[in-house]
């Protein structure tokens, strides 16, 4: 971990983001295909969620098996406020983000007393409870059959009701999210988080408020998930509980693990690639629907094996976790 001199290093991740922004803007100019744009909306939503989860996971060393629940909280909040109560879309989106953040706070505060795997179970339990709530609170959520006819986003009187418009909105937010997370990682709190990760006692000794840091990171990652949920609800127009279930949370974890939890770029790329995979037949000529159907059929196996393999053989980001953790382990006594 050598120090790096010079301003050049500051430019590079932002350069990558600018390049990405150009690419994102170019896509609708190169293809008018509505379906491709709709698929890319799903990708953008997932990128926002994964950015938050990678921040939590890789840099604060916390695991969340329930992030899909925060996406759901955001989605239903915004859908209910805008569709049922007639609130303006911006209000819905902000409320969605705030409520998800609040949920993150409520979970993080007591959960921080728990050790690694207990926390995982707590977030898992939270996801399952929210699933039951989504299913049973029919007056608000429409129950098992979901909530449809969610209005398009509307900003300052301008209705964003074309596939291109929704695509640009979602990816605009996604790029801003990546910028935000990148800046956090490079800022003092970000470095503090990584230090905390390395040796907690060391970080404490340096006067870093580890507990506060963890809580804020958890809340932020939940907020991002909620924002993604709001965008999804209005972009797609229909939401139902199964979209926000445990299976989805596990897939998010798998994406971050496979992408390499120590960085942002890895998980984001993994998110893009894995979200596009089920639609690859619409995107790559020569791939038939049947081939994709077969791949979809084996998706869970592939995810599971990939997770195990990455963790065992190619830790990459997890490697950093391991290296630092083994230093910690030497002093740990199992009570």
């Amino acid at each position: 971990m050598s120090g790096v001199k010079g301003s050049r290093t500051l430019m590079t991740p932002h350069l990558a983001l600018i390049a990405a922004a150009v690419a994102v803007a170019a896509v609708p100019l190169l293809t008018p295909d509505r379906y491709v744009l709709k698929v890319l909306v799903y990708v953008g939503v997932n990128v926002i969620v994964i950015a938050g989860l990678a921040l939590l996971f890789g840099h604060a060393g916390q695991i969340s098996m329930g992030h899909a629940a925060f996406v759901g909280i955001g989605a239903y909040t915004s859908a209910y406020l805008v569709k049922t109560l007639g609130a303006p879309w911006l209000v819905g989106a902000i409320a969605a983000t705030m409520l998800a953040a609040a949920g993150g706070l409520v979970l993080a505060l007591p959960a921080l007393r728990l050790r690694g795997h207990y926390l995982a179970m707590a977030t898992l339990g939270f996801n399952e409870i929210m699933y039951v709530v989504f299913r049973e609170a029919r007056a608000v959520t429409g129950g098992n059959d979901g909530l449809g006819g969610i209005p398009y986003p509307e900003v300052a009187g301008l209705r964003i009701d074309t596939p291109v418009g929704v695509y640009l909105l979602v990816w605009g937010v996604a790029l801003l999210t990546l910028l935000l997370v990148t800046n956090i990682l490079r800022s003092r709190p970000g470095r503090a988080m990584r230090a905390l990760h390395a040796t907690e006692n060391g970080a404490l000794a340096c006067g870093i408020d580890t507990v506060g840091l963890k809580i804020r990171t958890f809340a932020l990652s939940a907020a991002l998930a909620g924002l993604a949920g709001a965008l999804y609800a209005h972009g797609v127009g229909f939401i139902s509980p199964t979209t926000f279930g445990l299976d989805q949370s596990v897939i998010y974890v798998a994406i971050v693990v496979v992408g390499g939890a120590g960085s942002l770029a890895g998980p984001v790329l993994a998110a893009v690639a894995l979200t596009l995979l089920p639609y690859a037949d619409a995107l790559v000529p020569g791939l038939t629907k049947e081939t994709i159907a077969v791949m979809q059929d084996w998706e869970a196996d592939i995810y599971g094996l990939a997770m195990i393999a990455v963790v065992i053989f190619a830790p990459a980001g997890i490697g950093g976790l391991l290296r630092r953790a083994s230093a910690r382990r030497a002093g740990e006594v199992r009570g």
Partner: protein, 292 residues
């Protein structure tokens, strides 16, 4: 509500509670030996039922099919430990948890590929009408469930108290390092623990399939409930775990009786979260000063 109806709910609660107890014992045994939560425990439960159906369809008589299913699952547990977990012994618990999550995904999906997406049934071990006990109807299969649970618990108790292996397991659960210093082969203890946990889960799956049918995705829900039961009783303490399972089953059943059936699933989850946040050591466990 009259006595017969109340008793019916108690019966239902004890019935599901025994299943939770078996699955929860699996969590406890693994936790005691390794200190980690095995996220694949629910899948062992699923395999017990699914494999029993398959063996039975191959022509094996029902009891043999059941024993074969339990044995096969136990073997899978052992193999899993050796192949995927053993080399990671010194690793961050986070890593081990991720491995068990990955294993759970793979096992579940393979089950769907091998055995199909539909419900699978087994006939009751001793078909016949339900037995009337004080106005409540008790299915014959429920008697089997209780019987097998009691046998499993007794065998486990005997193992822990009377055998060298059992004492080694208890030593490990107190302190891994101390046990190793005493010359105990901790690696073997871990391996056997996984086998036992898998066998217990599979036994539960096999016993309950005639009542509820089974399918490739039957593991997830029971895994969460089994863990809630283990936490409720006190992870690491087998007797407490069994009590936790029965209590959870009763809580669920009585909540249906007095509240509403729609929130039945939420009860176990609420219990899980409340216990984790208020009293992580469970009803019977000792308070520990855990590091963050």
């Amino acid at each position: 509500m009259d006595a017969a109806e109340f008793f019916q709910y108690v019966i239902a609660g004890l019935k599901s509670g025994s299943i939770y107890a078996l699955v929860a014992l699996g969590f406890t045994v693994v936790y005691g030996a390794t200190g980690i939560i095995n996220f694949a425990q629910g899948e062992f439960f699923m395999l017990g039922g699914v494999l029993a159906v398959w063996f039975h369809s191959l022509g094996l008589p029902l009891p043999v099919a059941g024993i074969a299913a339990v044995a096969a699952t136990a073997l899978l547990g052992v193999v899993f430990e050796r192949v995927a977990l053993r080399r990671q012994r010194s690793a961050n618990p986070l890593v081990l948890v991720i491995i068990t999550i990955g294993a759970s995904m793979v096992i579940k999906s393979l089950a769907r590929h091998l055995f199909g997406p539909d419900e699978l049934s087994l006939q009751e071990f001793t078909p016949g009408p339900s037995i009337d006990v004080a106005g409540a109807a008790v299915e014959r299969q429920a008697l089997w469930v209780w019987g097998l649970t009691i046998v499993a618990v007794l065998v486990l108790a005997w193992l822990y108290r009377r055998t060298k292996l059992g004492r080694a397991m208890r030593a490990c659960s107190i302190s891994h390092d101390a046990a190793r210093l005493m010359g105990i082969d901790t690696a073997r203890v871990v391996m056997v623990s996984f086998g036992i946990a898998a066998a217990l889960g599979a036994l539960g799956g096999f016993a309950v399939t005639p009542l509820t049918q089974t399918s490739w995705d039957a593991g997830a829900a029971i895994g969460v409930k089994g863990f809630a039961a283990a936490i409720l009783g006190g992870l690491g303490n087998p007797v407490a775990t069994v009590i936790g399972g029965l209590v959870l089953g009763l809580l669920e059943s009585l909540s249906v009786a007095f509240l509403s059936s729609t929130y039945k699933d939420a009860i176990s989850l609420l219990v899980l979260l409340v216990v984790l946040f208020v009293r992580p050591q469970g009803l019977f466990g000792k308070a520990r000063r855990g590091k963050v």
